[in-house]
Amino acid sequence: MIEEVIIAGFGGQGLMLMGRLLAYAGMLEGKKVAWMPSYGPEMRGGTANCTVIISSEEIASPVVHCPKAVIAMNKPSLDKFESTVQKDGLIILNDSLIKQKVKRNDLKVVRVSANEIANKLGNLKVANMVALGAYVKKSGVVKMETIFKVLGKTLTGPKEKLIDINKNALKKGEETAIK
């Protein structure tokens, strides 16, 4: 089994954290994992992305040109990555910021109003967790419990109080994925 996902959006949307949580979870579930960020000044204002690979085998190339799934947190990301997704692949998109339709019709598409939901939860910053929740549910790459466990290990000290709202965001995302 090998799962590749590219998580893309604006710098500042918490993309890197999404990826790290995912990779961490994969590791805890005994898989081989690799996390690869885009880096450099492009992150300044512009769009950024990271790639996560979770596999039962050794991971050879850490560079993914055609991922199984894409999480597009804003419009430019969808424009950039829609075409790269593998046939019958998965796209999670943040329709708070993406109004247009996905052109390809072979893809599974989950639209999540991440920003609105996050706003309702009281913190726009957790929009990323909403999207991640939807992805984890839909792809089944790791168990949601593992993500929760990782959250606990990651958000420590002052950040600990943020665990609950992040969990709720993940759950909300999960729900939208079920519908």
Binding site: M27, V33, M36, P37, G40, A60, P62, V63
Partner: protein, 351 residues
């Protein structure tokens, strides 16, 4: 230890260095290796008998390394391509003075300011001597975050063993990516003791000095011959490489670091298509694994060297093959990473 943790390549180098007893770091920020400098700051600034200095420049950094390492302390600096170019004079001094230390180069696309994406175009500089004069670095080329850890630790041992600067030649991709790593307990290797040359103050002995010159060329030539001996010993004892199904391979790929990883995917894909492709991955770039390549060239008649450069290591491959087989080259430059598909297509051209 023993348990796996998820770590960024650059930080993994830092942790490995600290665990290898490197408590003195002098560096200057540059993408894509800045996380390493930051990691050393976090670690060493709160350690006893340790020092982290953000130098005013790469030049200052390498010359601080020269000083610290001359006292016998395990010392490291790190940078990326343009910054490494600035260290060339200092590296030549250190190699000539036979002072052990570790220099990390997380290569980016070049030349010039280039790009900040991964590259492999500093191979010549690292292996032939980008600085002036006859000298060599011990050059190690990791291809995974775990190997960054293991080879960083080895680099300090090799540097001490041969009183020669060692270089970790990585790239931006290895530095930026995260993988699960394990810091294995290492059995102590027996290393020459430094008290015969280190500058510690001359209490109870003659005063001594560390210098890199002599106006008498005959003496300087003797130094060169002495250093040459070390290099020959390195070639004899320390060559490392990974070889993958060379037996009745239709073609053998030669690549190091990140590219070698990508090639492994290409080789798997090739198998599916019934193609039997071999890989020789040099782990030590200096000393270069010329013997295994020469031997392979007796059987396999097609070699393809793949680099993220316009063609540098390929010269060492040709020197090793020495006309016994055909050596082709495929490269991407300026920070572009080749895909398994394009490599496989390239392979097919020659089958």
């Amino acid at each position: 230890m023993g348990e796996k943790i998820l770590m960024k390549g650059n930080e993994a180098i830092g942790e490995a260095a600290v665990q290898a007893g490197c408590h003195y770091y002098f560096g200057y920020p540059i993408t894509p290796q800045s996380e390493l400098t930051a990691y050393m700051a976090k670690k060493l600034l709160k350690m006893e008998n340790a020092a982290f200095v953000q130098a005013e420049s790469e030049i200052a950094a390498i010359n601080m390394v020269y000083g610290a390492a001359s006292t016998g302390a395990r010392t490291m600096t790190s940078s990326s391509s343009p910054g490494i170019s600035l260290k060339q004079e200092g590296i030549s001094y250190i190699a000539c003075s036979e002072v052990p230390c570790v220099v990390v180069n997380m290569q980016r696309g070049g030349p010039g300011l280039g790009s900040i994406q991964p590259g492999q175009a500093d191979y010549f500089q690292a292996t032939k001597g980008g600085g002036h004069g006859d000298y060599h670095l011990i050059v190690l080329a990791p291809s995974s975050v775990q190997e960054l850890v293991d080879l960083t630790m080895d680099a300090f041992d090799l540097a001490d063993k041969y009183t020669n600067p060692a270089m970790i030649l990585g790239d931006g991709l290895l530095g930026q990516m995260m993988e699960a790593v394990e810091f294995k307990k290492r059995q102590k290797v027996k290393l020459p003791d430094k008290s015969s040359w280190a500058l510690t103050g001359c209490k109870g002995r003659e005063h001594r000095y560390i210098v890199s010159f002599d106006l008498d060329p005959d003496i300087l030539e003797k130094w060169n011959l002495k250093i040459e001996k070390k290099y020959n010993k390195l070639k004899e004892k320390e060559v490392r490489y990974e070889a993958i199904n060379l037996e009745n391979a239709d073609l053998v790929l030669v690549a190091y670091g990140t590219v070698a990883r990508i090639i492994k995917t290409a080789i798997q894909d090739a198998k599916k298509e019934g193609l039997n492709i071999g890989l020789i991955r040099p782990i030590t770039l200096f000393p270069f694994p010329e013997k295994v390549i020469a031997e392979t060239a007796e059987k396999v008649k097609k070699f393809l060297t793949v680099e993220m450069s316009m063609g540098q290591m390929v010269e060492d491959v040709k020197l090793a093959v020495n006309g016994k087989a055909e050596v082709k080259f495929y490269g991407r430059a300026g920070g572009v990473i080749p895909s398994p598909e394009e490599i496989l297509n390239e392979v097919k051209k020659y089958l």
